[in-house]
């Protein structure tokens, strides 16, 4: 069970691009002999793909002009010369 825990940690490091070469090798060796961990990594990668597949939302019509209407009126900075 501990070895799965270690592998899990390495999977997340791998997904974050945070893994050393030695760790990458260690993970690879483990995955070759552990179907459960292979499946787990596959599910994690698929999860990321599913998240990225969600549609992008657009701001409501007229958003920018509503923001512009609410901006404080620009005050000219007055310098007093002595």
């Amino acid at each position: 069970m501990d070895c799965h825990k270690k592998a899990l940690e390495l999977m997340h490091k791998h997904l974050d691009g945070d893994i050393t070469r030695a760790e990458e090798h260690e993970l690879k060796v483990h995955l070759e002999e552990c179907l459960a961990c292979q499946k787990h990594l596959h599910e994690l990668k698929r999860t990321v793909t599913l998240i990225q597949s969600t549609e992008r939302i657009k701001a409501p019509e007229g958003f920018a002009s509503k923001v512009m209407d609410q901006l404080p009126i620009e005050k000219k900075r007055v310098r007093y010369l002595r």
């Binding site: 787990h40 969600t54 958003f63 512009m68 901006l71």
Partner: protein, 187 residues
């Protein structure tokens, strides 16, 4: 694009208010989407997203041009959404950490493996289902998952946006991915 935005910001700093409209146009969809996904309510999302741009404008002189503008803008928007979420009691309750559980919250103690009844699952479109699962993540995981996978920030940038250590960002992104894996493995 960063270059054009950089130029626009310089103009805004010099007092050219109209240049700010281009900045709003460029980021409005992203910032609105972020607020909507965080708050789950269109009216509130529009309100908070507008407030974020107004604050950015008012505080533009405190923006350091050596840094990425988007990181600075997201930081303002994220702080506003977090403030808004805190004011909501039920959500706060679910997000609250349970004493003595090392960062576990009420949410993670609910059964994550629980499958929806089949007919309910069939009735929902996949897109809607995925969005629902993201929306139901505790907000501290949801914000990071979105910043990373929908808005493409690096872990370092996320740590700057949320003002939390990079180690915390990593822990939360791991937990967020695991929570979503459990919810999405059957789809």
């Amino acid at each position: 694009m960063e270059l054009i935005i950089r130029e626009k910001i310089k103009q805004v700093k010099k007092g050219d208010q109209t240049a700010f409209e281009d900045v709003v146009m460029f980021y409005q969809d992203k910032i609105y989407q972020h607020c909507l996904r965080m708050l789950g309510n269109q009216h509130e999302a529009e309100d908070i997203a507008q407030e974020a741009f107004i604050r950015a404008y008012v505080n533009i002189h405190s923006y350091d041009e050596r840094r990425k503008f988007s990181t600075w803008l997201y930081r303002i928007a994220t702080n506003l959404t977090i403030d808004r979420l805190r004011k909501r009691k039920p959500d706060y309750y679910l997000d609250a950490e349970v004493k003595g559980t090392d960062g576990l919250d009420m949410y993670s103690q609910l059964a994550a493996d629980e499958k929806l009844p089949e007919d309910e699952l069939e009735g929902l479109e996949l897109q809607t289902y995925i969005q629902k699962q993201i929306a139901e993540l505790p907000s501290k995981y949801r914000s990071i998952i979105m910043l990373r996978y929908l808005e493409d920030f690096s872990l370092q940038e996320i740590s700057e946006i949320l003002d939390i250590p990079i180690g915390t960002v990593k822990t939360r992104i791991h937990r967020g991915r695991e929570a979503l894996r459990k919810k999405l493995r059957h789809v």
